[in-house]
Amino acid sequence: MALRTTRAQRAAVRRTPVSWFRSGGLSTVVFLLPLLVVFGLFSWYPIVRSVVMSFQETNLVTPSTFVGLQNFQDVLNDPLLWTAVKNTLYFALLGLLFGYPVPLVAAVLMSEVRRFKGLYSALAYLPVVIPPVVAVLLWKFFYDAGPDGVFNTILGAVGIGPVSWLQDSGSAMPALVLEATWAAAGGTVIIYLAALTGVSTDIYEAAEIDRAGIWRKIWHVTLPQLRGVLLITFILQIVGTAQVFLEPFLFTGGGPANSTTTVLLLIYDYAFANSLGGEYGMATALSIMLAVVLGLLSAIYFRLTRTWSKS
């Protein structure tokens, strides 16, 4: 065994272009090349270019000029930034309150159902299949603030409303979160259901022998078994909600009175809202700041929860 290892090591040291070619090195590169090109061009190049652009002033037509940290300063001095940060945190908080438990509860309940399980899974997943823009337009219709709106008609039947869903600074953000939860929950439900199939039935049987009821089984068996998945979906939820864009962009355009302007919408506005060429430098500067914050948050979170996830 020791002799073989030594030979292999020698061969590796003596590897020449010819031996590399003969051992199929070129085909590896050929297979890898498209992936590298696509990944480099569409993933890494924009990131590197964005970092460069965040230190530049550019209108995308005339040559760019380096302005140092000016873009970062401008962003940090923009009063709208703090409104956007506050709104994004609010969205994330509401997302955690509504959006995080709902798929878990749905998945656990569905896993307990014996009949029509497939049908329930399909129904839960259905909103994910609907294109997001179509879903938003549909919900915009539901959220019509007049007494004839779909939701307001339903509420009117029990003597409530009409509610100014999207037209009121107080209710606009919760309305957005509700739709976002509806749209995204199905995907998470499927993840939980898949994780639940991995839970050994022996443990449930043992719990049943111990006369554990359904709630005790969920609390003492299901949830501990899902710990790893719960950890991942939690951080994905935070990262996802911090990057909310589509809902405020299509539902409210950031209004009313900037009550739904999120960080990503602000980035978009910097870059594209001014019809004569936006503040691309400021847009990329804010993108980078957000990415750094999310990266740090993820790192801290994983470090803090490492012990817990291993246990």
Partner: protein, 455 residues
């Protein structure tokens, strides 16, 4: 949800594409002769008849110009999408922009210099100076062709007026009457008596219009120095009136997040009694929103008894993509001449256009302000008189007085940005009962001044 890399990708690809497509017309000046393909803007969401009329105009043009192939591309200028399209190079070769964007696009060379070609058009020197200014470079060369001009107007629904017990032939002539009529419509019909644009910079656009009507201005320019004047007694009065109509009278309905397309749609659907927008809006309402002609009425915007009170006026420029080569530029100017301009200055072209448009049951004769002089405009109306199919009689409250009103151009500096600053102001007033108007205007004014100081 959109990710940061996706947005960064959008911004960066836009940069990359633009850097490839910059003003390189000189390099391509010697483009080969032969068939030229020109992508031209066509309004999105047109009904079948309007598309048929457009296609027929394309066929007529291609028959007269065998070497040119016209390809229609759906395009509509909106503040929030235009930059992305411009930067990404996805605009058609011939596209339209509002007057407010002309100067900036020319200064930054974001559109092609077609001034040499425009100069050869027979009516090149006939443009009304105020109108021409928006499409001219510093040296007076016309890079963008003014194709239409408008003055703001009050559009109203005659059917809702009747249902509310108002006389549709006698629309409001003062802001007090507008308030009263709005309340009456809301009370009697349950619809919004008066609605206001609030989104995508249109909130600022209409707020500025109302400010002008009360004698205010949003900025004062003195040489290089521009001063924001958003925090003014006139603007305060406008916002107080809107606040009262919304909260005291409850006459503004339930939607306070209208963009241009949205408000047109709601108005055409009979949900709105009155709203303010460009005087020539009938065409869009009819071809894009299926407006019933019998419902439509339009009148001049009431002006307050103030020395500077006036009507905000603007218009549309036809422009050519910066990356267009010489052949495309030449063909594009021919199209602009054929499709937008000739009908305003040449009898046979006007008749052909009107005949084709009317045959497809599309509107002919909707009022607009002249891009040349008034005499030419009046003459052009006579040429097409027999094809006019819009309810002209219902438009007389506007057409009888539109030329008597003082027309004031839009703010000259950072126009769209200042409109954007005003969007949340009007949204606040309409969605928050206890909105502090003085504070909102003070903050907006400071923000606008900082913007103007940056230049």
């Amino acid at each position: 949800m959109k990710s940061i890399p996706a947005l960064a990708l959008a911004v960066t690809l836009a940069a990359a594409l633009t850097s490839c497509s910059g003003s390189d017309d000189t390099k391509k000046a010697d483009a080969p002769a032969g068939p030229v393909t020109v992508k031209v803007a066509r309004d999105p969401g047109l009904d079948k008849g309007a598309i048929a009329a457009f296609d027929q105009r394309v066929t007529q043009f291609e028959s007269a110009n065998p070497g040119i192939d016209i390809v229609p591309q759906e395009y509509n200028w909106t503040a929030t999408t235009f930059t992305a399209q411009l930067a990404g190079g996805t605009l058609p070769d011939v596209f339209t922009v509002p007057f407010t964007d002309g100067r900036g696009l020319i200064e930054r060379k974001q559109i092609a210099d077609i001034s040499g070609l425009v100069d050869t058009l027979p009516y090149a020197k006939k443009f009304s100076p105020n109108v021409a200014k928006s499409g001219q470079a510093e040296d007076g060369k016309l890079w963008a062709v003014p194709i239409a001009a408008y003055g703001q107007a009050l559009h109203y629904n005659r059917t809702l007026f009747q249902q509310a017990g108002l006389d549709p032939d006698k629309p409001p002539t003062s802001w007090d009457e507008i308030r009263q009529a709005a309340k009456q419509i809301a009370d009697k019909t349950g619809k919004a008596g008066y609605a206001q644009l609030t989104q995508d910079n249109t909130g600022g656009w209409i707020l500025t219009t109302l400010d002008y009507a009360f004698g205010g201005r949003t900025e004062k320019v003195d040489g290089d120095k521009a001063t924001a004047e958003l925090d003014s007694p006139q603007m305060t009065e406008v916002l107080q009136r809107l606040h009262a109509m919304r909260w005291d009278d409850n006459s503004m309905g339930s939607n306070f997040l209208y963009d241009w397309g949205g408000i047109n749609q709601a108005f055409a659907a009979g949900q709105i009694g009155m709203y303010v927008s460009g005087g020539g809006n009938y065409g869009s309402l009819f071809t894009q929103n299926a407006l019933k002609p019998a419902d439509y009425g339009v009148t001049v915007l009431p002006l307050a008894e103030a020395p500077d009170a006036g009507v905000l006026g603007g218009g549309t420029l036809a422009t050519v993509q910066a990356k267009a080569n010489e052949s495309v530029k030449a063909a594009a100017v021919k199209w602009i001449d054929f499709f937008y301009m000739k009908k305003l200055a040449d009898e046979s072209a006007a008749v052909l256009d009107a005949k084709t448009t009317a045959a497809s049951k599309q509107p002919v004769g909707a009022p607009q302000l002249p891009v040349f002089d008034k005499a030419t405009y009046d003459e052009s109306l006579k040429w097409v008189a027999q094809y006019v199919n819009v309810p002209l009689k219902q438009m007389t409250p506007y057409t009888d007085k539109m030329f008597d009103q003082a027309l004031v151009t839009e703010p000259a500096r950072s126009t769209q940005e200042i409109y954007k600053i005003l969007d949340p102001v009007v949204q606040s007033v309409l969605t928050k009962k206890n909105a502090d108007i003085a504070d909102l205007l003070k903050k907006a004014d400071a923000e606008a001044q900082a913007l103007l100081d940056r230049g």
